[in-house]
Symmetry: C2
């Protein structure tokens, strides 16, 4: 049976916790295609020293590698935090069908908060957006991370 | 002597031509830091089978590798086509100082055309934008590519 959005978000939360154990901002993502989870990853910007190594970007790359091409039509990406502009643009670029996110990002969210890059008819693809799945748990993980990391600021999410 | 914007755009155009030789949409980019070109790359989405392998993303990754960290403050990215939302978001995410682009992209441009993600005071970083450097030559290369590739459409830029 195909996993539902909450089950997928629980996997994404596991990834987010793995990011936190690495000292990274705790954000995790998974990609569903054909009923299977074909990619799971977490934010690794510090470890990889790579400005684009957000959870979503790494998950899209893993999914494309799995499928053997850059077009990810038919897939759903599930992520613990509302994607930023870079990641929302990447979902459009990859022709992802649907994005499911947990916590809203009031500072950088680009799937309904500051922008909705996924639903712009001027662009050549639109991505359906399902917000707020296990949003409380996803947001609480981020808040506890920043509360513990006294030197950090929420700016580092973006 | 530090190369000026046109000299850098000529390097980016060389990269774009290398992309065309590979059968890729011809877009090239370079990154300047401390007076030196520390990264040069071109669109490789087909070859790498990677939805995020736009010229700008690859150049940012190369620059971060060169500098040993994801924060690219002090750097300028020069690219032949106006960045899309993904790439403009990546410039913000990487804390790039300035972006210089050649041709305007009426279908997906996110540095002044459809959006200006580089100049949004709500985000945690702004990137200065210099548009239209050698824009004619940059646009002509794209038009000739799509004219020759009868089966392609300009949608594939984004």
């Amino acid at each position: 049976m195909q996993p539902d959005d909450e089950q997928l978000m629980l996997l994404a939360l596991e990834e987010a916790k793995a990011a936190m154990e690495d000292g990274e901002v705790p954000i995790g993502a998974v990609v569903l295609f054909g009923g299977d989870v074909i990619a799971r990853s977490h934010n690794a910007r510090e470890r990889l020293r790579n400005p684009v190594a957000h959870a979503e970007i790494l998950a899209l790359e893993m999914a494309a590698h799995h499928l053997g091409g850059w077009r990810l039509g038919g897939s759903t990406l599930v992520v613990t935090l509302e994607p930023c502009a870079m990641c929302a643009g990447a979902l459009v670029s990859a022709r992802v069908d649907r994005v499911v996110f947990g916590a809203v990002d009031p500072k950088a969210g680009a799937c309904g908060t500051l922008y909705n890059l996924c639903s712009d008819p001027r662009l050549n693809h639109e991505v359906a957006v399902t917000p707020g799945v296990l949003g409380g748990a996803c947001g609480e993980l981020l808040r506890s991370f920043f509360a513990r990391r006294r030197t950090g600021t929420e700016d580092e999410i973006a």
